[in-house]
Amino acid sequence: MATERKRILVVDDDPDIVESLNIVLESADFDVDTAATMSDGLAQVESKRPDLILLDIMMPRGTEGFHFVWKLRSQYPDSIKDTPILVLTAIHSTTELRFYPDQSDGTYEPGEFLPVQGFIDKPVEPASLLKRISSVLGEGD
């Protein structure tokens, strides 16, 4: 491996989801860090400097996922505030809560509303997850 191993931070309060993501990501040669709360997650962004964050929106506990994004993007140093984020969610298919514009709208641009790199439906399908991650990290390089 000539290239440096990429580091991914998983923020999710469900230990079993974290465990399965961990196994999948480690099998694809990523270094994985995990956090169960928003504050722990933000602390780890600062200390571990991940290349990508997989973030659970954490319903119904509240809107911690959203706050995580807004806080990171607006209050953190330039070196880390633009860390790519993929949001893990089951929300937009089950509630009318919309955090990005209607895709049928012609003016829609992906990620325009919530400043993240994309959304992945839960439960996560490993192959498509790895594909999404590599495309986001490829863009970042």
Partner: protein, 474 residues
Amino acid sequence: MSTTEVDLTSRLLWLCRLRWLAAMSIIVLTLAAVYVLGFPLPVFHLTIVGAGVAVYNIVLYAWIRAEIRRSGVVSLRLATRLAHLHIDLDLGALILMIHFTGGVESPLGVYLVFHMIVASTLLSPRAALAQATVASVLYAAIVTLEAMGLISHYALGFMRPDFYTSAQVYVLVVVLMSVLYGCIYTAGSIVRRLHERERELSDFAVRLEQEMHRTQQAYEQIQAVQKMQVRYMRRVSHELRRPLAAAVSLATVVLEGFSDAKPEAKTTQLLRRVVARLQHGLDLVADLLQLSLAREAPLKEERSWVDLTQLIKQASDELTDHAQQAGVTLSLDLDRSLEPIFAQRQGLGAAMSNLIGNALKYTDSGGQVTVSARQDRQATYITVADTGMGISTADLPHIFEEFYRAEEAGNRDSEGTGLGLSIVQSVLEAHEGRCEVESEPDKGTTFRIVLPRGNTEVGGSQQEHEEAPCEGKK
């Protein structure tokens, strides 16, 4: 009432419009009768009557319009007085016309019938009857005065010249009078019946409107309930989705061979976690079912005599193994003279299992859980006390809410459904009882069930039931 005055006013205006035609006809027909047909009629007198009708019509019409402009509507009192004035003036004009066109010979006598119909629609039955009497008297007066030669008779040549002076002429007078009274009677009863129908219809309209209002309210209530149901379903779906999504994630990892690539992640261990999450989903479904049964219970009223001692012993026996594993002492302190209560056995059993199960779950090894029960004349009291971790004051008001889980509880037992205490509460509400809780963090928690005996026993009178229901119902 307001419909009557509006109605009366519109009928007066209609009469005014009709009168324009009458005034014009009097003049035109007089000229035609005299100059075309050659009848020897007094043109001047008849023209004056026609003009007079036109003049008083202008005055009456202007009066009504002015009144409407001034106060928006003609009051019932004024409208009634105006109606009398209209009718009296018309009768006067008509009598003059009859006199100038031949008295008893005049074909215009027939117009008195028309006049009576108009009077019936505008005046009260009594006033209409008076109108018929006045018309009869005036008609008879003309005939008599003409017969006596006190006023002139304008002969048309329809009758024998000596007929109008003979006593036989009164046959015509009597016939006309009977027609006028008959007309008032018939028209009056038709008008009355029409008014009744109108009143019935307007009453019906009012009732219909009230009914529609009530229907609208019921519809809004149903909508609100439906909205709540949708929200609840969404919540339930989300709660069910969590364990299922986790189970699918873990199982997918195993199925797609990712666990082999990671030696320390034992496939068996992962599968055990899958089963645990699926079990949690199953528990959730079972609790939801139990909750729906408890909610439905007040509607079904399936009660029987329940031996409390047996019920509590059974609930605690089922949890004895669990208590031993947890190292917690589970003891019973039941009053020996507990009488059977009339209750829903299954629901009450589920409530006891939930309370004892909770107490064991949140009590550390070496702790104690005590279930006690006693009765007095008013109620049955069951308490489940533990020496466990307790509930924080912030969480205490919320513990009966569905899916509510205190943070400490979640840390200790990730597999709880958050529905146990909701089940307890629903069961007690079905029995019109209540559940009280006292707790101190790190010292322990005591749940106290109160089941009023008036409600749980068939012997307790129904009145008692009504007077002292669920004091502490949430």
